[in-house]
């Protein structure tokens, strides 16, 4: 059984590595490599956040502090390497970020982990605000509004790898991402990792089986700080710039969203969340100014209908796949997807017209192009059409969801009878 499982695990990790190696060869558009690099960084960051939220039950509003401080220390270290006063291969810079993240994890962890639940969340928010305030007070270290800029093409090139081209940076990030993923997964399979789950489930009971939940939380937060710092250092290498907003509460909220959308209950959940959120943020923002609104709506829909995140949706379908009933869902899902697409078409049209009138109409007039069609947002017909499409979408989705429910009740019957057999 256990050998079978470790073979499966080896297969999953090998496939992950293969995907990471092949990704920039498949996606060759100009922005793809940059986005893939950001995804790798986001994966490390989101997984490190989930060491707190998903594994230890600590809701932190200040995890970007460790990412940001790791990044700033790395930026100064990189500048010192460039000046010849510090010697370290650029590929090993994440160790500097990790060390900084670890040190601040130890310091702030000592203060915050005596508490759990809401008090912990509030203190983490307080520390995030405090560090953000410090970043304004010490412009020599944090670089003020402009941040700290740096140059990654320093030191000796090893086999002509000098990290000038973005593709080299991607592979550096990919290697670190892969190593960190394995390390963080391995951590879940240790006595500390298991006791972190116990602390998440029931911190009081942990005391009566010999463990101090404060120590468990402290160690998990320190280690999470370490990995967040590594992600911060990679961010510095990737962008050659770090500004104080990367350690602020918005950045902390962002990593929370990634972990939550992906699913905090599964190890791979935050990986999915990091990929999806990074993609949405960079792709969506290319197309529309209203992308933050869409992103917020997406998050809202996830919380309402899939509070366990995307990973929980996958888990939900596993029994159906086991009894080979996934086909039963295909038609109802297709119908629901079509209805949802219609709903979104109406909604997006309305939102874009409002945005156009509010932000652009004064300069370019009220005529706009959307989905390849010209329309005048100052006239009534486009509004009526959009509202009609939206209403039709809502009604059709309600209708389609009946068939989805019927399919699921069939599957539940099949799963139950398979269990009894």
């Amino acid at each position: 059984m256990s050998t079978h499982l470790s073979w499966r695990r080896l297969l999953i990790w090998s496939a992950t590595a293969a995907v990471m190696i092949a990704a920039p060869l498949v996606f060759t558009q100009g922005f793809a490599v940059s986005m893939l690099s950001q995804m790798g960084i986001a994966i490390i960051f989101a997984l490190s956040y989930n060491m707190l939220l998903g594994q230890t039950g600590m809701l932190s509003f200040g995890h970007a502090v460790y990412f940001g401080l790791g990044a700033f220390f790395s930026a100064h270290a990189l500048n010192a390497i460039g000046a010849g006063t510090f010697h370290l291969p650029v590929s090993m810079l994440p160790l500097v970020g990790g060390a900084a993240g670890l040190v601040f994890g130890v310091i702030f962890g000592y203060i915050t982990t005596k508490h759990s639940g809401t008090p912990f969340a509030m203190i983490s928010l307080g520390i995030a605000e405090m560090v953000a305030a410090c970043s304004l007070m010490f412009p020599s270290f944090f670089g003020g509004e402009g941040g700290i800029s740096t140059d990654r093409v320093v030191g000796k090139a090893l086999m002509r790898v000098d990290f000038g081209p973005a593709i080299q940076v991607y592979y550096l990030i990919a290697v670190w991402c892969f190593v960190c993923m394995i390390a963080m997964y391995a951590l879940t399979q240790t006595p500390l990792g298991r006791m972190a789950n116990a602390v998440r489930d029931n911190p009081e009971r942990v005391r009566f089986i010999g463990y101090n939940p404060t120590h468990v939380r402290f160690l998990m937060l320190s280690l999470a700080g370490f990995f967040a710092g590594i992600a911060g250092a990679l961010e510095v290498i990737n962008f050659e710039l770090i500004t104080a907003e990367r350690l602020g509460t918005v950045a902390s909220g962002n990593v929370l969203l990634m972990a939550f959308i992906g699913g905090v209950g599964h190890f791979y959940g935050p990986v999915i969340g990091a990929l999806l959120v990074t993609f949405l943020q960079s792709a969506l923002s290319n197309y529309t100014q209203a992308w933050l609104l869409y992103f917020g709506l997406f998050f809202l829909v996830m919380i309402l209908f899939a509070p366990g995140g995307i990973a929980s949706l996958i888990t939900l379908h596993q029994p159906a796949a086991q009894v080979r009933k996934m086909g039963r869902l295909a038609a109802p899902y297709a119908g629901a997807a079509a209805a949802a697409a219609l709903l979104m078409l109406g909604l997006v049209t309305l939102v874009e017209m409002i945005y156009h009138l509010e932000t652009k109409a004064e300069q370019v007039g009220t005529v706009m192009t959307l989905f390849g069609r010209q329309m005048d947002a100052a006239t009534v017909p486009p509004w009526l059409v959009a509202i009609g499409i939206l209403a039709a979408g809502v009604l059709l989705l309600a209708f389609a969801s009946r068939f989805v429910r019927a399919a699921w009740s069939d599957i539940t019957v099949a799963v139950n009878s398979a269990r009894e057999a």
Binding site: R194, R207, Y211
Partner: protein, 249 residues
Amino acid sequence: MAASLELTEVHKSFGKTAIINGVDLAVEKGERHAVIGPNGAGKSTLFNLISGRFPVTSGTIRLDGHDITSMQPQQINHRGLSRSFQITNIFPKLSVFENLRCAVLWSLNYKYSFWQRIGGLQDARERADELVGMIGLAKRRDTLAGVLSYAEQRALEIGVTIGGGADVILLDEPTAGMSNSETADAVALIRNVTVGKTLIMVEHDMSVVFGLADRISVLVYGQVIATGTPQEIRGNKAVQEAYLGAEVD
């Protein structure tokens, strides 16, 4: 015989309300000792004081001669005392096996290790599997604790309590809310897992108390009004008046 657990003049007040009013109690090594008393007598509070969940207001508690008064629960646990809870208190999102493996980790000295693979710790796995069998949940080994039936959760609660191999076991109403047959199973389990250990339990079911206990202490209004063998307690006038009433007539 030496006293395993000894309470001297223990007091506990919440604000101005005194719940425990000068309890003296000596539990001998290897005995099964029941604490009975009417609702609100302070039985659960007494357990919370002994196990370190609450600090005492005054008095001393000794475990094997060492002062453990107002130590942290985990420190008391390290000294060989473990307790269960009246309201089931387990790790609901972990499997039965993982619950028990967590319970044995400290006693096997793995502490906060993040450099060992838990799957490779053979002694922890064997001990946890032994416990799974002992509490009769072999078929439920990989089920999440949160979805077990009530009686199964109570059995797991006992398993988690004894997992660390403590010599002194405190069980808080282990059969509360169980049917007759479930109670019989629970009594057999308790008898089985406390062989060679010191057991102190709070229990309302008198058949369980008189069937299991070597000695009984009666707690009324935060004071021990009598301690003795089941026979002595049955015959004690003060106990009859204060508590047992018609039941033993």
